[in-house]
Amino acid sequence: MIYDPNPVAFWLLAAMVAGCALAVVRARKLFHAGLALVGTLFAVAGLYGLLQAWFLAAVQVLVYAGAIAIMLLFAIMLTHHMMNPDLKSLTTQPWTAAALCLMLLAVPLSSTWQTAPDTTLSPTWTPKCGFQVAEAVPSVEALGFRLLDPFTLPFEMVSVLILVSLIGALVIARRDPTLPEPPEGREEKAP
């Protein structure tokens, strides 16, 4: 069986990813940007499904769209009046940044299409750099063994990292009792 992702599904998900990501970076209301991020994360999960990485699609929905995005939305709601449209969240130089990013985009795009022009034509293409299209879908069981056999050290380090970040977040976000209360009143408008 040759792996051949459905083009219609790919283009739909790609349009959703690009559109939602554009909304994330351009939306005037920050809360809308957060909601667009959730849309992007779900679309990326769909792309993982299209790539037959089922476990990662589930992790993406659970961890990213379920936990990280909700935490960011909570942070938005804790620090802003909901739906405040006066928030000046774009700089005065969007065109400079856009030009820089377009240049950054041109490099990988030109190199991928120059070194392997045939990938777009045939899914059975055997590239010069030695990739082969995998035929069998890797199972979750294989992923678990892989995680514990050669990747034991990074696996344990990640658990330590998560524990440290948990404690660090608690310490950073805790109110320092020796400091005086900050002045009340919001100063959300940039001068």
């Binding site: 083009p7 990280i68 990013c101 990640v158």
Partner: protein
């Protein structure tokens, strides 16, 4: 419509990464910068998973799992920092948080 190959996923990852870079460069709000960072993490993960699928190798998926865990840790500490900044400055405008500017 031609068949979808590895290049399509890589190009989409590049587009997503550049949109995230654009957001990091242009946004002044700290949370908006965090949102854009998540876009960049997702672009990297998309590339990793695409390579893992088109190469008969699981290592890309394993690395993507690690990236997701690190992204979760980063978002936790980032949100804690943002809340701490907000408590001290009453705003989270990165252009005005310049106490340590030389």
């Amino acid at each position: 419509m031609s068949a979808i190959g590895l290049n399509h996923f890589l190009a989409l990852g590049a587009v997503l990464f550049c949109l995230g870079t654009y957001g990091v460069l242009t946004r002044r709000n700290a949370i908006a910068v965090l949102l854009s960072l998540e876009l960049m993490f997702n672009a990297v993960n998309l590339n990793l998973v695409a390579f893992a699928r088109f190469m008969p190798n699981l290592d890309g998926v394993v690395l993507a799992v690690f990236v997701i865990a690190v992204a979760a840790a980063e978002a936790t500490v980032g949100v804690a920092l943002v809340l701490s900044i907000y408590r001290n400055f009453r705003h989270i405008d990165l252009d005005q948080v310049d106490t340590m500017k030389g």
